[in-house]
Structure formats: C-alpha cells, structure tokens
C-alpha cells in the first residue's frame, strides 16, 4: 500500500467515525446497559444463593435496578484497572492485617501507649471518586484515619506521629492512582530537588 492510499484509507475511516457519532454513542450506551444488567444478575444470583425459583422476582427487579442506576450515575466514571487491582488487593490485605494487630496491641497493653497527631497530607490525585476512595482507604490502614478532605489536602489523624506517615501515605496514593489508571505528579522529593524555581 502506497503512502497516498494509506492516507486515503485513513481519511475514509475518520470520515466514517464522524459521520455517525450518534450511532457510536448509542452502541456505547447499550454496551454499558448490558454490563450493568449482567453485573446485577450476578449479584442477584449471589444473594439468593443460586435458587432457581427466585428469578421470577429477580429478573424484573434487575431490569428496574439497571434503569435506576442509569438515572443515578454521576458524571464521574469509576473504572478500575485490572493490573492496578492485582497490585492493590494484596497490599490492602497486608496493611489491614498490620493495622488490626497494631490497634489490638495498643488496646491490650496495660498503658495503651500512643502518640497521636494531626497531619495535613497534600493531595496529588485529581478531584472525583479516586480522592474519596483514598480517604476511605486511609481510614482502614494502620494508624491513620481521614478527618477532613478539602480542596488541597487530606487532614489525617495518626495514632503514632513519630513514624514516616508522609512516605507511607504517598505509597497508598500511588496505589490508588494505579487502580484508577490516573497519572499523578512525582512525589515531593522531586519538588525539593529544584528549590531555585
């Protein structure tokens, strides 16, 4: 295929895309409805533990719920990347174990030793579900608890202010960014490297 032929083919293809934008939009919407429907069917199957007679009630219920979720869906999209999930899940499990043991140790200790502090963590994640997800994750991780999510930063209450909270939270933030497929600016260390600006 010569250069001009390839160019013409690309031109035709781009023309096709622009010619039927409504059709493409319609297909995407159908696709989304179908996915929601399947997901809700799976949920019904799980809730009824696979009892076949329940589908007489379940199928209409799933249909109505699919319609309702389409009406309620926000402008923010919520997509998890499979690779990010593979990395996030074991990380979350290990951290949960650590957090539970840490708190149990303090609670059972005769003197309940702790060193609480309030701490502002500057956010690198963009607005939207990723920030809310980060705030919730931080509350479940060892020694940290989200107290205020504002425009610029997340106020965090920590059980032990003497540990390196900043680097730890940055690692959590990077995990969340990977989970949502977002790119965030490099950590503060990078900013400190160029103070003359």
């Amino acid at each position: 295929m010569t250069q001009s032929e390839r160019g013409r083919k690309m031109f035709i293809e781009s023309g096709k895309k622009e010619k039927f934008p409504m059709e493409r939009h319609g297909m995407l919407l159908l696709n989304r409805i179908f996915h929601r429907f399947l997901l809700l069917c799976l949920l019904w199957w799980v809730l009824t533990e696979g009892y076949p007679g329940s589908w007489w009630f379940g199928l209409p219920g799933v249909t109505v719920t699919t319609a309702a979720t389409l009406g309620l869906s926000s402008r923010f999209t919520w997509h998890w990347r499979p690779l990010g999930m593979i990395r996030f899940v074991p990380f979350f499990f290990l951290q949960s174990l650590h957090g539970g043991i840490d708190v149990a140790w303090r609670a059972l200790h005769r003197q309940t030793p702790m060193n609480p502090a309030l701490f502002d963590f500057p956010l690198r994640l963009p607005h939207g579900p990723a920030r809310v997800f980060l705030a919730n994750t931080v509350s479940l991780l060892p020694g940290t608890c989200s107290a205020d999510l504002s425009e610029e930063c997340l106020k965090v209450h920590v059980l032990d202010g003497s540990i390196a909270i900043h680097t730890r939270l940055q690692a959590v933030e990077e995990h969340v960014a990977a989970l949502f497929g977002l790119s965030i600016p490099p950590a503060e260390r990078f900013e400190e490297a160029s103070p003359h600006e």
């Binding site: 949920l43 199957w45 799980v46 809730l47 009824t48 533990e49 696979g50 949960s96 174990l97 957090g99 539970g100 043991i101 840490d102 708190v103 149990a104 303090r106 609670a107 059972l108 005769r110 003197q111 309940t112 030793p113 702790m114 060193n115 609480p116 502090a117 309030l118 705030a135 919730n136 994750t137 509350s139 479940l140 060892p142 020694g143 608890c145 989200s146 107290a147 205020d148 999510l149 106020k155 209450h157 059980l159 202010g161």
Partner: protein, 107 residues
C-alpha cells in the same frame, strides 16, 4: 474434624479476638479520634477473618461470594462512618489528645 474445619475455626476465633480488642480499645483509648481507630481497624480485620473462616465452610459458590460481599460492604460503611464522625468532631472543635500518651501517666 477435617483440616479445613480446623483452619476455619482458627480464623473465626482470631476474628472474635480482634473484635474483642477493638471493643477494649474503644473503652480504653483517650478521645473520640483514637477510639475511631480502634473500631475501624480491629473490626475490619475481625470481620475479614470471620468471613474468611465462614467461607471455608460455605456450601456453594454464591454463599462464598456473599460472605466476601458482606465484608466489602462493611468496609465501605465503616470507613464512611469513621470519616463522618471524625470530620464532625473536628468541625465542632473537639480537641484531640496530642503527643505521647500513656494511660498510667494521667492523674
């Protein structure tokens, strides 16, 4: 008893232990913020272990997935409730206990 049942029992007992520790923390920790830590962390792990233990005894796949879903739903609820309580306490001006703390050192 079968091997699986032993593991399952051990997980359920460990889960109960973390619930107990969380409750103790809620009674013994000095302020609302530190008490929130006790409840969210210990209950997250406690319910997780409990669900894992019961999953080993589940009779079908949907029953197993259901237990995992219960845990995830509880995680979302507890994290959200934790944020709401901490946020409201902070905005209402409740001062947190800061700095080194030991229950024995209090008068």
């Amino acid at each position: 008893m079968m091997f699986e049942e032993w593991i399952s029992s051990a997980l359920v007992c460990a889960g109960a232990f973390f619930y107990l520790a969380g409750t103790l923390g809620m009674l013994r920790f000095p302020d609302i913020y530190t008490r929130l830590h006790a409840v969210t962390k210990a209950d997250n792990l406690g319910l997780g272990l409990l669900a894992a233990g019961l999953m080993l005894r589940a009779e079908s796949w949907p029953a197993m997935i259901k237990l995992a879903l219960i845990w995830m739903l509880a995680l979302v609820t507890s994290a959200t409730a934790c944020y709401l309580v901490a946020n409201n306490a902070l905005r209402a001006g409740l001062p947190p206990v800061l700095g080194r703390y030991r229950s024995g050192s209090r008068p």
